[in-house]
Amino acid sequence: MDDIKTTESSWQSGIAKNITFIVTKDCQLACKYCYLVGKNEKERMSWETAKAAIDYILGHEADFPEASVVWDFIGGEPFLEIELIDRICDYLKTEMFRLGHHWFNSYRFSFSTNGINYHTPAVQAFIKKNISHLSVGITIDGTRQKHDLNRIWKGGGPERGSYDDVVRNIPLWLEQFPGGGTKVTISSADIPYICESVLHLYSLGIHEVNINVVFEDVWQEGDDRRFEEQLFALADAIIDGGYYQDYACSFFSEHIGKPLDPEKENQNWCGAGKMLSIDAAGTFYPCTRFAAYSLREKKPIIIGNVRDGIDRNKLRPFLTLDRLTQSPQQCIDCDVASGCAWCQGENYDAADTPTIYQRATAICLMHKARVRANNYYWNRLFRKLELEGEREDYESNKRTVEPQNC
């Protein structure tokens, strides 16, 4: 489909090992929807811990056979610890080369930042030094109103939004990362702003908006209808404005909303367990969402530490988890199951027992609303392209209707 831009999959998606350093649990902001319930200013990773983690990981090459690696840095706000990160990355580069490690041929440093410190000399020097191996995403939620609704500065006094402090850095970021995408998180209160926010992000020059609803059970009655209406409006705006050619919004995907084959499409959605997350104490987690500061109700799931290494028994449940085993019957039988996502950490946190094998279904109605909006979007877009003679393969791609269901 040359004429419709789709969201890019992440670098070496499905091939790369993702290793996350939780360098700090501090952040300048106190976003209202932030799932990190245990943020604080004390837990900062030391150089000794970071080095010990690297030495363990690179020293056990056989246990990490993935062809590529993404060294991911998160917080809190990772760029608060730019000096440490710079030291870590220099050490990683040197050690991967010194050891002749296979990852030297295929690695990235990845950041998800609130963008506030992006322009600072220290961050800029780091970017210039590592530009060919960097992936940096800046989170901006949309219009000033939408962004400042949730993404507010930490501290006492009157509530202050962070929109201006982030937006001023967007041009520099896009200059350095022209294909840069942003991540938008939608909670109940954000629904009325979805359409205008996505269009606003496009107007800032951001061509890729990765947007998702939160997995937590925050939804109010009627949210699905309101969500659907916003997506209808967004669909019309994208199609009528011709944005679909150069801009992408992850809400619209041609491949969602179909039943899933119980045998052929039984894989897990989430990559927890295939990733490795390390906190300031040198503790290993299957994903950051299983660290204590991410969990509301449950104890953290710890799979090892920098001294003793990884307890591979703790990874077995993650690596054998499949869709059907964790899904309730309503999800197995669902006619629009494809594209319905889940977060293993939220599943665990919301489960009735301490298990990762109970899928949370809080987003069920929201997913169904998204599917209806997607049907509308693709039917309208395909028809438009067909009428404009730009889509020769329209008929072959059109959704088929089974005669017996007519």
Binding site: K93, T94, F104, N130
Partner: protein
Amino acid sequence: MKKLVGQVTPVERDEIQRLFERRNGLNELAKILTADNTELYERLVADMGDTGMKFQQWWDRMAAQYDWESAPDGNWEINFETCEIYLVTP
């Protein structure tokens, strides 16, 4: 201007992608490694020469094999996603 002039196999793509990534890695390592780290520095310099040579050999070999269209001021580019080769001219 960018013109599609050919395509390589995924195996051939993997080879040049690995060399491309290695070359980038060596270049960025060169920014932080100093000559006082003698052993590693010498390895780096040798590797940069070796990788650069293999990189060029790949293009020479593929160009001969596929007989791609060329231009006096142009250069070829590969799209790692699609394995497509483009001729880029000013």
